[in-house]
């Protein structure tokens, strides 16, 4: 191929790129993901055993990246694409991928995480995926088997040890396996968890936007993992809330986090010397 031809081809590609009709932020024409198929009449609900769940957060991604994340759950562009069914524990989903909160457009397969949480801080989640089909719904969740709709407990960071290097508290963290929550082969896309934290007197909740990244724990497929994280306790009036955010290789960090572990920042509470249970010396006896 001569330089002239290469230039011509390149020019054509540039023009096609410029000429592509917009709505570039989303699918054009819009595609949809739904638990209800108006064409077949079939519908399903995701199920959570948190019958008092009061908040839902969803994330959608594909091989081309994350499409529905924080913007679809929080802020002015947020859309209520997850909703509670009439029966407690039922969760429905209906997302137009042409919505303004959507970035890019999935093609072929779409993966998604559904997270339900309650006021007490419990979090259940599931990650699944469906293939694109031709019909009323492009990504038809109504075809999913019940086992692929049942949410389970999201992993909570367990602080297995801690030290203080003012103003930080350094944590060694363990995460239990959550592999069973990654359905339909989505486990292969899960690389691990971001360990995130937020400062506050009260639990900041399940939205990832409220947290700051501290570290990453490798846990392929949601396997058990260990890692470390330091949280900033320079403001001792507040506590630090530490959580795990699932990370996929293609979709990045999810829009939600799991249940939070509270780290007390007040050194009079956090200093281990106030928490030591004195050992009794050899030969000590209990006086009756």
């Amino acid at each position: 191929m001569t330089k002239k031809i290469v230039f011509g081809v390149a020019l054509a590609l540039v023009i096609v790129g410029i000429a592509a009709p917009s709505a570039s932020a989303a699918c054009n024409p819009p595609k949809s993901i739904s638990t209800y198929n108006s064409g077949t009449g079939a519908f399903v609900y995701y199920k959570t055993t948190l019958l008092d769940a009061n908040k839902l957060v969803g994330t959608v991604w594909s091989a081309s990246g994350q499409h529905a994340g924080t913007a679809c759950n929080e802020g002015p562009l947020a859309t209520t694409f997850l909703y509670f069914g009439a029966t407690p524990g039922d969760i429905g989903m209906n997302l137009s991928l042409g919505d303004g909160c959507v970035v890019g457009c999935p093609s072929g397969t779409a993966s998604f995480q559904i997270t339900a949480s309650n006021a007490a801080g419990a979090v259940q989640t599931i990650v699944s995926k469906v293939n694109e089909v031709s019909g009323a719904v492009n990504f038809d969740v109504s075809t999913q088997a019940p086992a692929d709709l049942q949410l389970g407990n999201a992993p909570r960071p367990r602080a297995t040890s801690s030290t203080r290097t003012a103003p930080n508290v350094n944590l060694t963290i363990g995460l239990d396996s959550s592999a069973a929550l990654y359905r339909n082969g989505t486990g292969a896309d899960i690389t691990g968890f971001n360990i995130v934290s937020a400062s506050g007197l009260t639990d900041p909740g399940p939205s990832a936007a409220a947290y700051t990244l501290r570290s990453f724990v490798a846990a392929p497929g949601g396997a058990a993992g260990t890692g470390a994280a330091s949280v900033d306790c320079s403001n001792i009036a507040n506590d630090q809330w530490v959580a795990a955010q699932v990370v996929s290789a293609t979709g990045g960090g999810a829009a939600s986090v799991g249940p939070r572990t509270r780290v007390k920042c007040d050194p009079t509470l956090a200093n281990p010397k106030y928490n030591v249970v004195p050992k009794k010396g050899m030969g000590t006896t209990t006086q009756n």
Binding site: S22, A23, A25, P30, N94, G98, G100, E132
Partner: protein, 219 residues
């Protein structure tokens, strides 16, 4: 025929309509001032949707003629949706800018503007015409139709349009929103969004479940 001549002809048609009963509103000519807006702060990129009348002014037959009629230098490109490929054909009118595809009654178009222009749409709708709104087929054909909303159509919002087509035959209706450079979709089902109003001059995506040869209810 120039716009001036055309408007003159329309005045005659209107006069005939007023003196006789043979003509009905739906096939009377109309003139519509429709603002095609330029790029602004992101994400506003100059994309506009456009619905032309069934009976367009003389000579307005293809993408080039449309660009010329709007004002060639004000337009970046014109695109049409191709159902078979679930993709677009774009014409820029510039070098390597594609073929000037023909315009067709009932088809919606994207017009990407460089400079804001108040485009005067003239023509008339054909009350006898039916639009073939087609259902999903083998991928990538997913039942999407880009429909040119009629000026004289009675359906005033997305729900009324779905009802007029046949609610059970339609999956959803979507409109393009310039401010967000994205879409608002109405399904008419649970959690299916708000039934947005329809505006003459705008085109809408109508996603079908079952093929319908649609004859819009009109005034």
């Amino acid at each position: 025929m120039t716009k001036k001549t055309f408007l003159g002809a329309m005045a005659v048609v209107t006069a005939v309509a007023l003196t006789g009963s043979a003509l009905v509103a739906s096939n009377m000519g109309f003139k519509l001032n429709y603002s095609l807006t330029q790029p602004g702060a992101l994400p506003v990129d100059g994309t506009n949707v456009l619905a032309l009348p069934d009976n367009r002014q003389t000579g307005l037959n293809d993408a080039k003629a449309l660009m010329d009629d709007i004002g060639f230098n004000n337009v970046t490109n014109v695109s049409r949706y191709i159902k078979a490929t679930n993709a677009f054909q774009t014409y820029t009118g510039r070098k390597n800018g594609g073929l000037a595809f023909p315009l067709a009654a009932g088809e919606g178009y994207y017009v990407k503007m460089l400079t804001t222009t108040n485009y005067v749409i003239v023509g008339s709708d054909d009350p006898a015409i039916t639009y073939n709104l087609t259902q999903p087929g083998a991928l990538p054909v997913d039942g999407t139709n880009f429909f040119a909303y009629n000026y004289h159509q009675t359906a005033a919002d997305a729900k009324a349009l779905m009802d007029d087509i046949g609610f059970n035959n339609v999956t959803n209706v979507s409109r393009y929103i310039k401010a967000t450079n994205a879409f608002q979709t109405y399904t008419g089902r649970k959690n299916g969004g708000l039934a947005f109003p329809l505006v003459p001059g705008e085109a809408y995506y109508v996603k079908m479940l079952t093929t319908v040869n649609y004859a819009p209810s009109h005034y």
